[in-house]
Symmetry: C2
Subunit: 359 residues, 2 copies
Amino acid sequence: MSENGTHTRIKDIAARAGCSIGTVDRVIHNRGKVSESVKKRILEIISELDYKPNVNARVLASKHPLNLGILLPAYNEGEYWELPTAGIQHALDRYNEQGYQINVFRLSYHNPEQFYKAGMQMLAENMDGIIMSPATYKESVRLVRSYFQEAKPFILIDSDIQGLPSLSFIGKDPVQSGSTVANLTHKVTRHIPGQKRIWVINISKNLSQMYSFLARESGFMNYFSNKQLQEEYSFKTYEIEDRDIQEEFDKHFHNLLSDGVPHAIYVTGSRVYKIANSLKKYKSGYKPLLIGHDLIRQNMERVRDESIDFLIEEEAGRQGYLAVESMIRSIVHKEKIEKKQLMNLLIYTRENLPLDPSE
Amino acid sequence: MSENGTHTRIKDIAARAGCSIGTVDRVIHNRGKVSESVKKRILEIISELDYKPNVNARVLASKHPLNLGILLPAYNEGEYWELPTAGIQHALDRYNEQGYQINVFRLSYHNPEQFYKAGMQMLAENMDGIIMSPATYKESVRLVRSYFQEAKPFILIDSDIQGLPSLSFIGKDPVQSGSTVANLTHKVTRHIPGQKRIWVINISKNLSQMYSFLARESGFMNYFSNKQLQEEYSFKTYEIEDRDIQEEFDKHFHNLLSDGVPHAIYVTGSRVYKIANSLKKYKSGYKPLLIGHDLIRQNMERVRDESIDFLIEEEAGRQGYLAVESMIRSIVHKEKIEKKQLMNLLIYTRENLPLDPSE
DNA sequence: AAGAAATGTGTGTCCGCACACACACTTTGT
DNA sequence: ACAAAGTGTGTGTGCGGACACACATTTCTT
């Protein structure tokens, strides 16, 4: 507090320390020379008074724009990455309206090499901070090594790579996510007489998604093995290539089904709708429980007509929003950011599906 | 945009309109007299340039504190209302740190009359804005009528009362929520042979909660009637008074159970843990599916030991946070707020339970 | 017609902070 | 011993907007 009854200001600190605001400013920003004794005194007063700089004044006075690098996988319309991207855009619009000046530099990648290259280009372009979703482990570590050396702040979204010196990770533990789905699957199928047949399907286009999918799968399997349910349940795992032509996909999938329709299918990624579509065309008395991820349009349609039973999502849009917000809070406001910001696990059914997935 | 390449400023508008910034300021704030012609010209320029005042400068310059009234039901430790309250506190702390000066005036109520009285006191104390959770319909309408006449902005959290001229409603549609639980219940129990017995239990202390509970119940029942599942399912609804002494509660509940343990129990509120506790003590071969609401500590413990199967929550903490944020954005930043901010429906199981429910 | 009141508009200060600049005092070099 | 370089500290201006105040011009009184 201060004489005027509100918050502590630089001026108040200066008065207490018996120096000018310029000197206080110098110790706060570590710029210019300040004698040790004065510096110590000021730091003491700062911590004693619990001085928090006024963010509004700070943003107003420092007129540097924020250069933000955004590095995400390439995607087509209606695909998963549209969601985080929308969240990012939402945040950018909002902060822009409020008077923040933010320049974005976007790059996308199709494969790990491109990821690394684009990441290095971000360095070359001298961004103030970088928001990215890592591709593979190896390239991420290589890239982050460079970031670390140049003290370049970065935020990881969607997939974490443990131990990286990121400002923050924003996303969800995929193993936990898989276990939760397993719990759901277990409870829904437990009363089916006889042995329950479960399929886990990974449909992916590229390597970088594969990691999350596999982690979800192992979380899923883990649940059943921890519960010692291997007797009651049988599992099959399929890796299906993402064929763009639905007919080809159908053919392949119907082929798998000919051995017998399972009781439940868990698709570890956002391409459940393809399974749902194929399943619809397959004449069979039994409709398996179908669970998949992410609130993309095509999935939502399939939830609406109940060909998908449950859709899990990990607040994809909010991840993007928070990434931008965290970057601003860290770089512009100089706040401290939580190392891990874990999202909630949302479950959607026909009943609680939002009309519009945009955040 | 402006000469300096960034955002439009008042100065830029003044330059274009050929007047001083004082005049522009007057038309923006509708204070003082401005000739019609100049006013019109300025307004045109404002909309043409899409002028957005710089929030940081605005907050910095206007040094009024924000007086915030908060009116919520009274609660004991560990009860539901702790969650929104924590969210509110989190927002207050955060904005306070950032240099906003916010004074809060809290009141709580045990019954509708107190609610109305406290609400009127908020008016008398001349708060800038009020965040509240409405008690009953009648009292809310009466109260809001006064608010409307005095143009006092208010935000409703948790329970909506349709058609009220609130700044925003922040919460969730309880009917939808009930239907979602019904879907879950249906899928889990569908494979049980024979007729499935379902219990819906409302445990509440006071009238104001009852509304949400009943709405959830009707959403729940709706699902089954829409699906025409009345043949396969039998339903019983119980209203249980919330007895503080668990033994008494147990006695009452065990009495109900003696007619036969149901296959599933849906508790429409946050007091599921009481049922879970009672159920544990009841010796029976069959453990019914147990679903309830809200991430309070006692419920979390029961999810952890799997005596509660699913816990549903509607981002209670975030509701509080958003309420404060929305109030600030509306009153201080003068932004436009969305009339309805619907929360997500979160599902928790043992696998994805957070360690700490605080936001 | 002259002062009073109403109307319209411009100027200046402050909010808290960032940063450039100025300047005094000390230390170093020759 | 005196200039040059280095070190420590104070002052001033500007960021965009809010608001008080000053003042000019018009309109109203009597």
